[in-house]
Structures are given as C-alpha cells and as structure tokens.
Amino acid sequence: MRTTSGTASLAALATIGMAALTPEPVQAQSSTGQVSLRGFVASRCGAGGASGTTSSAFGGTISLGELSDTNARLRPALVNSTSGSPAGTIAFQAGCTGTAATVTLSATRLSTTNPVPAGEGGFTVSNDIDYTAQVAMALTGGGITTLNYTTAATLPAPSTLTVGDGFAFIPDNFEIRVFGLRPEGGDQSVLVAGTYDAVITVTITPA
C-alpha cells in the first residue's frame, strides 16, 4: 500500500512538474485557489530483471556447467547441494503492485534428448536428473517465505502459495534455488553424454 500511494504521489508530482513546464498565457492579475489532483495507479504484476545468477552467459538461465565427474557420475557438489548451499540460484524482482498475489512454482526434469544406450550391463545409465526448485520470497513485513517443487518421473502438481502480506518492493525479492540433484536410478548412475536442460516456471496471479 505504501508503494501504491508512493507511486501515486510521484505520478502527481510528475503531473505538477509537467504542468508547470507547459507554456501558459501570462496573467496580469494574481489570484489564489485550490487545485484538486486526482488519479489512480492501476495494479500490475511483473517479474524478471534477473541478477546475481550463476549464469553470466544467458539471462534467466541457471547454468550448472559440467554435470559429471571423471567417472561420468553426477558431481557430488550437485548431489549434496542444499537450500542453504544450492547448486545454482537466480534472483529477480517480482510481485504485484496494490494487491495480494498467489505464486505457483513448477519445473521439468533436467534431461537430455540423447537416449540411454541399450545393453549397458552392470551400470545404471540415466539421461534424467531430478532436483528441487525453491523460490524464496522476501515479504513486506520482513522475513522470507519459501515454496518448493521437486521433479519426478511423473511430475507432481504445481506448488502454490498465496502471499497476503505482500512482497517486499526491493530488487531481488525473489530467489530461485536449485538443489538436491539426483539422477534417475540413483547417485551412482552413469550419465548419458549430452546437453541437459530444464525449465522452472514461476506464475504470479493476483489474488
């Protein structure tokens, strides 16, 4: 609410400024009076403006680099990553002005389209990696609330949270963390060579 009224005040200020700059006929007499200002700021929702990501090459992408160790298994740093020490993060500003909002989080598995070779006796080979995506949101009243989504062979329903307290109107009030990576078949699975990609979707809905 502070944001909305603040923006409204600034809009009024801008109007005053622009009005003062508009050439007007010079009046010889002076007079006093009241000028009423009335306006509104329509609610809007937005997201993006990513910063502080682990990817410098591609905006809006969490780059995990080389996934495998020298034995072609998922790197222990990715397996052992946690919410407090994630494998990758991306921060951005999101939310709605003037209204409470619901945040929905979903994700797809980290996969390559390269197929699992047939007849790999003795090894478990995988081309799919599951992980947990977490969105941490800074709130207007202070504090942080989180929402998690963990991928699986059959993707679960999206996770949803309504934030009535409002999002802090500050840069990077949202942070997405990726952690707890697990190849299908377990940590000892050998990963198929290829390019792995996935999508995390954050949906903002006015409540």
């Binding site: 200020l13 929702c45 409470a100 996935a198 809905t205």
Partner: protein
C-alpha cells in the same frame, strides 16, 4: 532555464519519471491490467492488456486462456479453454524496451445466466539454449483474471459468517465468509468492511474499517462469482484470540 520555479519543477518531473521508470525496469516483464471486466456484447466485450519488456533481450510470449472456477481455496484454473475468449495476437516477440498490446474479446454465449471467469496467462516461452549449454531456464508467467458478467445486474455481497482465524504468522485475524446473492460477480475490495471484536461480556475490543485498498493489498481483489460463497482471511490483527466478530460490508457507490 532561468526561472527557478520552472527549473525546480523540471527536476521534480525528471525525478518522478526516473523513479516511475525504475518501477517498470525492476519488473523486466510486466502486465497491466491484471483484472478485466467484460460484458457479453458490445464495446465492453473487448478490452486490452499491455505487456512491457524492459529487459535487454526480446521476450517471446504466448497468451493462454483457461476457464476459472471457484473452490474451497478460492479460484482455480481448469486447464480447459472453452473458446469463449479470443486473444489477438496469441503470440508475440516483444523487443527490448517495447510493449505489446493484446486484445481480449469475449465471443461466447451472449445470454449468460451468471458471470463466467477465465485466466489469461501471459506465458514466457522457452528459447533454444546454445548447443553444449547445460542449464535451467526460468520462465515467468503472469495471469490476468478476466470476468464476463450477465447483461444486467450487479453484485450483492453479504457477510454470512465470521470467525477468528490465524494468519501465516499465527496471529489472530478475522475470517469472513461472503455470499454473493446475485448472478453477477463482485469484488470484496470494491467496498469497505467494518470489523468489530467484542469480548465475552460484550465489551468492544476493536473497531476497524478496512477500505478497498486495504483489502486488496492484504487479501487480494476478492473476486466472488455469481451465486458463490468465499471466505477471506483479513489483514487485521485482533487484540484477542477469543470473543465475537461482527462484520459489515458496504459496497462502494458505483461499480
């Protein structure tokens, strides 16, 4: 600019513009408005929404429509597009610093017996990552609530139940149940709610009026469909965890 008043005004205007611009830049992709109220026919059957891209890269977006229904938790998308809304264009690539206006038109049944509701999702589309890049793309979707009302009628919102609940921090807050006794949808935030809490002896502990903006900020728009009932947890901390709650809703004069 020699006139100091004009110079000051110009600085203020620049400052305001710069700060307002920051609001847009902070949200690299923004959608406005996020609530559309449509009529089943005539000029008001069509409205527009604007998607702005303040990123340094183009954003491919797609607009998807799904029917919205009410359940115990509020509203829920059905995942089904009944074809009642036509969005044009349905897809666009919005260049850096540019905005795209999308037209939303209701083309469904013109003789509605009650309001209908839809989500129009502005969905960012994934792009092909460069060959050899391993990564997780983060996509931002923003949903717009579009409602179509019957040709005539206006909402009739009434408080049917009050309780003391808890907010996300575990503090005591009022929970009100609102019934819409009209076939036309309404919004709790388009009115004022006066809340009174009394203790067991009838002594008044708190009396507070929540304005529309208060409700919208703390509980959302509060969409209530035609002939629907919804409960809302209100953004008002109560001084006691027990006692009785009275609530009175006054719709704003015009809708």
């Amino acid at each position: 600019m020699r006139n100091p008043i004009l110079r000051k005004a110009a600085v203020l205007a620049w400052l305001a513009g710069a700060l307002l611009g920051f609001g847009g830049a902070a949200h690299a992709q923004s959608v406005q408005p996020v609530i559309l109220d449509l009529q089943p026919a005539g000029r008001q059957a069509t409205q527009t929404l604007t998607v702005s891209n303040t990123r340094t890269t183009a954003i491919p977006v797609e607009l998807r429509v799904e029917r919205l229904v009410f359940d115990a938790n509020g509203t829920r998308g059905t995942g089904q597009d009944p074809g009642d809304l036509v969005v044009f264009p349905a897809q666009a690539v919005i260049q850096p610093g540019q905005s795209q206006v999308f037209r939303v038109q209701y083309v469904g049944d013109g003789a509605l017996d009650k309001s209908r509701h839809y989500y129009v999702t502005v969905a960012q589309l994934p792009v092909q990552l460069p060959e050899g890049t391993t990564g997780i793309q983060v996509l931002y979707n923003i949903q717009v609530v579009a409602s179509v009302q019957p040709r005539s009628g206006k909402p009739d919102l009434r408080v049917t139940e009050t309780n003391i609940g808890r907010n996300t921090e575990g503090r005591a807050v009022p929970v009100v149940t609102i019934a819409n006794q009209s076939a036309t949808h309404g919004y709790l935030s388009r009115g004022r709610l006066t809340i009174v809490q009394r203790d067991a002896s009838g002594r008044e502990l708190i009396r507070q009026t929540l304005t529309g903006p208060d409700i919208q900020q703390g509980a959302g728009y509060g969409l209530i469909g035609g002939n629907e009932v919804r409960s809302f947890t209100l953004p008002l901390l109560l001084p006691a965890e027990t006692g009785s709650i009275d609530a009175r809703f006054e719709p704003e004069a015009r809708r």
